[in-house]
């Protein structure tokens, strides 16, 4: 009947693994409860972490969007991308004189006010709405820093007089009720926009209970062959939108308007200093860091690679805004709640099985194995909780992703590791009491009725 005695205690995995998992999954409600407790903590950490990371990326989205250059040259006191400290245009010449530079072009970046005209459908009166926009002035000739992709229109049309390009997400700020930013087809976008801006007088239609139901009207008459989509006014200068581009969402979520450097200067009040940044391309074979050092030495300006500028911008937000503390608070809360839920349920699970653990100890299962069983159980629920939590947070992120989403969500691989580490710590803390309980457990407990 009984097989010959094998090597004693050879199947550590059998007793520790199989029985431990059977015990754990045997009580479905408790098992699911522990897993969900951990999944909640893991999801919260991942979700908040991803939103935090997404926000941080938005703070430097324009650094990534303005591509093509190796170095950003700026006033030494600039702390982040939006902290523009304008320079005199002659400093562009200073930069251009540094050895190892292939080209250096000016960049304007600032805030401008765009005036758009609408018809109030309830009163039939014309209403002018002023919106704050982020104005980017690209080098007139090269258009270095141009948008990565155009939704509609041609970037070369920026060479036309008065032309500007608007980012698609920004349309939501400019035309909040028309949903232009939600249209995915360029053809449909154009026809919808044309229909909206064709009217030059009050619409007879009026929606009840609409406080301010505004419908856009075109300021000029766009001919069939014209690339002009609609018009607006900036600093009392006419601006013709000749294209819509896809740009990353910015931290402020204002519309981003691209135009040429010289035109940008017209769209903002006149100032002595209007050079925001100088974008530099280094000669082939030149180390950008060496060139940056030379620029600093010769011009007294700061020169940073894209990665350095991103880092500087993120560091500023980390150091001088309350964002990290606010997110960290939520993450810590998730950590504590997760530990409390999982720990309480796991300990209660151990207590419920304490006689079984006692029986196993009496039958010759040593402390090491019993602790191994508890740790394996903790590892299993931790693994499942982590997987479900990360999966849930990722689904949440995927469901809310896209250019038009308000949600800043980016899951960096480090976040996965951080979340895994947090889950391991939660499981360790949760199982600590249980481990102590089973270590100190007297097997004689099994003889108590």
């Amino acid at each position: 009947m009984l097989p010959a005695k094998p090597e004693l205690f050879s199947n550590f995995g059998e007793i520790v693994g199989w029985i431990a998992i059977k015990m754990l999954t045997g009580d479905r409600a408790k098992f699911i409860g522990i897993v969900f407790g951990l999944a909640f903590a893991s999801a919260l950490i991942m979700q908040q972490g991803s939103i935090f990371w997404g926000l941080m990326l938005r703070t430097c989205a324009q650094i990534y969007d303005l591509r093509g250059a190796d170095l950003w040259v700026m006033d030494p006191s600039v702390q982040f991308i939006d902290d523009v400290k304008p320079m005199l245009e002659k400093q562009l010449g200073l930069v251009r004189g540094v050895d190892g530079i292939k080209w250096a072009v000016p960049l304007y970046k600032g805030i401008a006010r765009a005036k758009l005209s609408f018809i109030d459908k309830s009163t039939g009166k014309r209403v002018d709405v002023t919106e704050q926009v982020i104005l980017i002035g690209l080098d007139d000739n090269s258009l270095v820093g141009e948008p990565a992709s155009m939704f509609t229109g041609d970037i070369e049309d920026l060479h036309r007089p008065n032309s500007i390009i608007v980012d698609r997400v920004g349309l939501r700020k400019l035309f909040p009720r028309q949903g232009l930013n939600l249209i995915d087809s360029p053809g449909q976008f154009k026809s919808t926009l044309a229909a909206l801006t064709r009217r030059k007088q009050a619409s007879p239609m009026s929606e009840p209970n609409s406080d301010k139901d505004l419908e856009p009207i075109g300021l000029g008459t766009a001919s069939q062959n014209s690339p002009v989509l609609f018009e607006m006014e900036m600093n009392e200068h006419r601006a013709e939108v000749v294209g819509v581009c896809d740009a990353s969402r910015t931290f402020q979520s204002n519309a981003v308007i691209y135009t040429t450097f010289s035109r940008a200067k017209e769209f903002v009040p006149r100032e002595r200093k209007l050079l925001s940044y100088v974008l530099v391309k280094v000669m082939p074979g030149q180390n950008p860091l060496d060139v940056a050092r030379r620029i600093r030495e010769q011009s007294g300006l700061s020169a940073l690679t894209t990665d350095q500028f991103v880092e500087k911008t993120i560091n500023y937000y980390l150091r001088y805004t309350g964002i990290p503390i606010n997110f960290m608070t939520t993450v810590i809360l998730g950590f504590i709640v997760g530990t409390a839920i999982a720990g309480q349920m796991f300990y209660s699970f151990t207590l419920e099985n304490i006689r079984q653990f006692g029986a196993l100890k009496a039958m010759g299962v040593g402390n090491l194995r019993i602790v191994g069983m508890v740790l394996l159980q903790a590892a299993l629920v931790g693994f499942l909780g982590y997987g479900l939590g990360v999966g849930g947070a990722t689904l949440f992120g995927m469901a809310n992703r896209g250019q038009n989403s308000e949600l800043a969500f980016y899951t960096h691989r480090y976040l996965l590791l951080l979340d895994a580490g947090a889950t391991i710590i939660i499981c360790t803390l949760a199982s600590l009491l249980s481990v102590l309980k089973v270590i100190l457990l007297e097997p004689a407990i099994v003889f108590r009725g």
Partner: protein, 256 residues
Amino acid sequence: MEPQSATTTDIPLGHGKRLAVRISGIKKQFGKGEQAVEALRGVTWDVAAQEVAMLVGPSGCGKTTLISVVAGILNADQGTVSIFGESITSMSDRAKTRYRALNVGFVFQQYNLLPALTAAENAAVPLLIQGVPRLKAVKAASELLGQLGLGKRTHSRPNQLSGGQQQRVAIARALIHKPKILVCDEPTAALDHETGMIVMKLIRELAVSDDRAVIVVTHDNRIFPLGDRVAHMDDGHIESIVDGSGRPIPATIEIP
């Protein structure tokens, strides 16, 4: 590693019996100072193989402490316990754990079956602890359950079995690894009289052998006649020992 063996020091008693358990002067105290409770006050008792030895007495008299010491799950303060000539009181805790895994079978009052395992899996646990592959262990356990009349309930979980059936699974678990000593703690306490008698008869039938000691702790005087040696315990020591017919016998067995 070789399984531990005690056969070289076995002591024959004549009539085909051997001395299985020798308990000499066991003392055990819990707590210290004024709070100290002397649970065992120098217990001396011998149990032979091929017998069912019963330990009876009022609650708190030290029965549970004594069988815990005999089973190697509690250390005595003083005295020795040897099983088939091998002293377990001198073993380290680690060695005792191994000894229990190989040589001790337990039947508990509350069965203490693992609720998530089937009857066969529960009965196979001691084999798994010893290192027998799961399928082989469960097969062997199923066969033993068949002998205990549970052939059709091998896949049932404890909560699907009656108290008597659960106790039979516990008996199978206690015997599956052919232990040298079987310790039964109130095996009939949670059962009705009829089922209790069936269980005790099964223990007699299957457990009693020439290389095993069977010690049953019980309050149930209706099963006393099923014992070959009944030790009455009170206040930490054995007061009297009688045979199955109630005739007084000495606490120790004379070695020829």
